[in-house]
Symmetry: C2
């Protein structure tokens, strides 16, 4: 009895600490000192983000898999690249990705700039053989040549680092503030329903917030480039491992080749999670309530009641932010020819 009381007391303290890590979304994400935001750079980045000409056959843009007219992903289990090729993992949402300290499911890039370069040359995504070919395409589009001169006046030639900088600058504008949770955290206690508040307390009490903390619910107090990697499943052996193929992709291990990184993943954000089904790195789980059940079992060895699941899902719905209106970019034209003959 004494032991149990001590344990409860300890849990209460832990819980209190975790509570302190619930945070509203800051209005501006971290901006790297070597890539300040400018309106012209953001506009250039938006054009590049939507431009399918930087894929091998001209059919795939960044927006194809990370759709900013929607929840910032593609709503599909795994990405679909050129010629319908399928990737092995789902497309993480680009919304609020600027708050992440590392990028990709396995955290293999430390910045949005680093991330932006990856899909262009991934054979199952945009499929360009190398970045020189990307640059060669861009150089054939007069409107881009002019825009790069204006945005990066010190650089004589268009280069892939500047392409990535422009795209990352645009992505840093993709913020969804003012979710019910954010309003609640800023003092409007009516912004969340009673059920949502129950769900918020519950995720904290049962321990979800030991990983899902901070402004993006993906880790707190981390520096840019520093990842919050966690095992998933934490407790292997549940029925879900096989049902949803949770262990065959080794995650961060594929980056580091260290045994201790097997099945480790960057903690994904909870923001707008109600909109970004299907769930997990392989998109095998189609609904949010099932995702909650799977996580409780595989990470905390808990079988939640249906009421608990509903409360947590209600809280997660309180994490849906406001999506700003945007103007469409007009892509600078290729005149009199095509850059994308079919291979």
């Amino acid at each position: 009895m004494h032991l149990r009381k001590s344990f409860m007391a300890l849990m209460a303290v832990a819980s209190l600490n975790a509570w302190a890590e619930f945070k509203a979304l800051p209005p501006v994400p971290p901006i790297p000192v070597d890539n300040p935001q400018t309106p012209a750079k953001i506009e250039l980045g938006k054009q590049l983000y939507f431009d399918p000409r930087i894929s091998a056959d001209g059919s795939i843009s960044c927006n194809s898999c990370h759709n900013v007219m929607s929840h910032g992903g593609d709503g599909r289990p795994v990405g679909a690249g050129i010629h319908g090729k399928r990737g092995g993992r789902g497309s993480p949402t680009v919304w609020n990705s600027a708050y992440h300290t590392v990028q990709f499911w396995d955290g293999r890039e430390a910045s949005l700039e680093g991330q932006a370069k990856g899909p262009m040359t991934n054979p199952v995504e945009m499929g360009m053989a190398n970045h020189d070919i990307v640059i060669g395409r861009i150089k054939q589009i007069p409107g881009y040549v002019e825009a790069f001169k204006k945005v990066f006046p010190k650089d004589k030639e268009i280069n892939i680092d500047n392409v990535a900088k422009a795209i990352a600058s645009y992505e840093r504008t993709l913020i969804t503030p003012n979710s019910p949770f954010d309003k609640y955290m800023r003092g409007n206690k009516k912004a969340m329903t009673a059920q949502q508040i129950r769900g918020m307390k519950l995720v904290d009490e049962i321990g979800c917030t030991s990983c899902h903390t901070g402004v993006n619910f993906a880790g707190d107090g981390l520096k840019m480039g520093e990842g919050n990697y966690q095992p998933f499943p934490q407790i292997p052996g549940s029925k879900y491992d096989k049902q949803y193929d949770l262990t065959s992709d080794l995650g961060r291990y594929e980056v580091t080749k260290k045994a201790e990184d097997k099945n480790h993943w960057r903690v994904p954000t909870w923001r707008n999670i109600a909109l970004t089904a299907p769930y997990f790195h392989n998109g095998k789980v189609q609904t949010l309530d099932e995702a909650v059940r799977v996580m409780a079992k595989t990470q905390l060895d808990m079988d939640l009641t249906e009421t608990q699941v509903a409360d947590i899902v209600a809280f997660m719905n309180a994490l849906t932010g406001e999506f700003p209106k945007q103007t469409m970019p007009m892509l600078p034209h290729t005149v009199g020819t095509t850059l994308t003959p079919d291979p």
Copy 2:
């Protein structure tokens, strides 16, 4: 000599008549009486136009092949649908398609409403098994249910005809006015360069305008639903037939199965033609100057000089209009689940 003089006089008259058929783009395209434009309908149509959830695997929207952030096509030889499947023909531009009296390369649909339904169930495009499945998806998205009630208050259920009406309404806003040619036709004689004016006269003199007439350079005086079908090649047997595979697709014959329709095609628009490479139904010709050479040879049996080609291309550049700024639609969200599990 007498005969030749008569012929020249006849040609001058013919030319004069053709000249009369050069027309500036009217600010508003024809609107069907049973589908009046309303702001709410246009906005709903824009959402549907950009929504990949109405394709089988959630990867393809109307905008994937008819990109309104660019020239309204995809800049590729033929369209790329779900799972990277390739169509047999290029994606015609959606810009100014509202002025066309028939739709598709072979004119098989009389209206934009009719056209809009086709790609959804085309197995190499959006790949839905039937329209009921399209409607079933849309009904699962609460934002659409609400919007359809508002836009089509008399119809209890969402139906495919209303889906098509909304999309067509949006497409009727996709107009590019104020090309140099349009300004010239409205009286600004400085709007075109001397070379562009030479090119304009040349296309008329050599006979291009016997087919490429009217506001959209695709036929004049036609009623909606009435097509201007022409043989291509008009004069088979040139080197281009084989080089660009001009005869294997039988065009309008595939619709009517009438022998006289073999290799007949709807006359395509010249508007924004400098931006919509590659050219012809199969996209085999990559540049505009080559397209001009091919047309002169296959349709008029003429070998143009390089100066003539350059003048005509210059005129065609004068047909590039102004693309209006648009706001991005925000797609109504699917909450807590995915509608597009991979088949």
